[in-house]
Symmetry: C2
Subunit: 254 residues, 2 copies
């Protein structure tokens, strides 16, 4: 959105037009019932819905999605699943009865995801990571305009295959996951790049899609490092210029 602002510099006061990033309260309705509201950027809401359900462990395949419609007047997505979805009732049961109030929805649903080792022979060089991260950062148009979004991407180690932005770092990753599912890409051949910090919640999402590497411009937490090590995920942070810190899974670096 364009807004009138006052820009103050050392010796100057200017009234200018500036662009701020857009935010909407986006509500997901699952099988006719309201599931939750995310604060998000108002684009790629189909990808966000599918990616959120998948990375939270609520669906295990895009084939479970019967249909999905996005209402961009009220910022609601209506998603219906095929009958063979086992987690749906479990989620609502958690939400509406005992589990409710236990935590944020995200924290509740993420424990539907079973811990499993990532056994994957993917290899990548430090030079390629540096190059990819440069391309990744240059792709972020909305960030350059507003400074108000995070970005995430899926890469095969050579190119950026899917690139998304959102005001939320979790949402940006979910949009990437959603588009990858729609395009039927195989996660095991890809790595995830993100501009945002890596908490345990982010690693849980990555565990669900089983990509071998997670690469960030920013810092991880101790829980993220522990979890990454326990599942065999390559976790690289602070990729800036030609430097980077490898927190876990250095064996995938050549």
């Amino acid at each position: 959105m364009q807004v009138d602002i006052v820009k103050i510099t050392k010796d100057k006061r200017e009234e200018i037009k500036d662009i701020v990033t857009n935010e909407v309260p986006f509500t997901i309705h699952l099988n006719g019932r309201e599931l939750l509201t995310l604060l998000s950027s108002p684009d790629n809401l189909k990808e966000l819905t599918i990616g959120f359900l998948y990375s939270s462990g609520l669906i295990n395949s895009i084939d479970q999605v019967k249909n999905i419609t996005i209402d961009t007047r009220n910022w609601i997505s209506h998603i219906d699943l095929t009958e063979d979805n086992k987690n749906d009732e479990l989620v609502f049961k958690r939400l509406y009865t005992s589990g409710c109030g236990k935590g944020t929805l995200i924290y509740n649903t993420l424990d539907l995801i079973h811990k499993r080792k990532i056994t994957n022979s993917f290899k990548i060089s430090a030079e390629k990571i540096v190059r990819l991260m440069r391309t990744f950062q240059n792709s972020s148009v909305n960030f350059k305009e507003t400074g108000g979004v995070h970005s995430a991407a899926l890469s095969d180690g050579e190119n950026i295959s899917v690139f998304k932005e959102d005001i939320g770092r979790h949402n940006a990753i979910d949009k990437v996951v959603g588009e990858a599912l729609i395009k039927k890409l195989k996660f095991k051949d890809f790595i995830i790049l993100t501009s945002g910090r890596i908490s345990s919640e982010i690693v849980f999402k990555i565990m669900k899609i089983s990509v071998p590497c997670l690469i960030s411009r920013s810092a991880p937490t101790d829980q993220a490092v522990k979890l990454a090590r326990s599942i065999g995920l390559t976790l690289i942070g602070f990729v800036r210029g030609s430097r980077m810190n490898v927190y876990s899974g250095e064996d995938r670096l050549v």
Copy 2:
């Protein structure tokens, strides 16, 4: 936490010890019932509990807190309120029945806060903001060590009165709010500084404490700007070096 990492620079690969920031799942029990789990840094949990309840509109005064104990073995706070708390049943009702699943808890509870105009004659100069922001950034020890936390502060316009850090930008503000309540500081004489981006959720929190100015190193969203303008909050973003963008309430700048 100290971890062994591999640091890669242009021509070098080094095995070094590095510090990553700590993360815990922190659960608040309100009047004997589990309310929610926040991912947070493991310090100032009393301040976080009280600040969260207050900035979410669940309590209106620290006098409503009968007692609070922090269990740092299991990362749980037990907080009991005096009987004259009206919002408690409302919150659980929302959580356990119809409102449950409507959104994240935060989004649900924030609408307990009524919109009200901030009418406050506080004034500050751009030079003071620049100086305060410099002090603010230099105060962040955990950030300097780990790069993994946000910081927030309360300032009277001259000095930093309360300073807190957390892996979550919302939590950092809630810790500041909690300590201010414990110390019986009057919010109307203070402004809030934050390292993080400003979404509508953050402005809702600020609305609850009615400080006249919110100052950030980062970007606001369009909803944050609209809300700030509608309640008469001075919102200043991108304070970097001697530059800043005034998005709302320029009349408080002298």
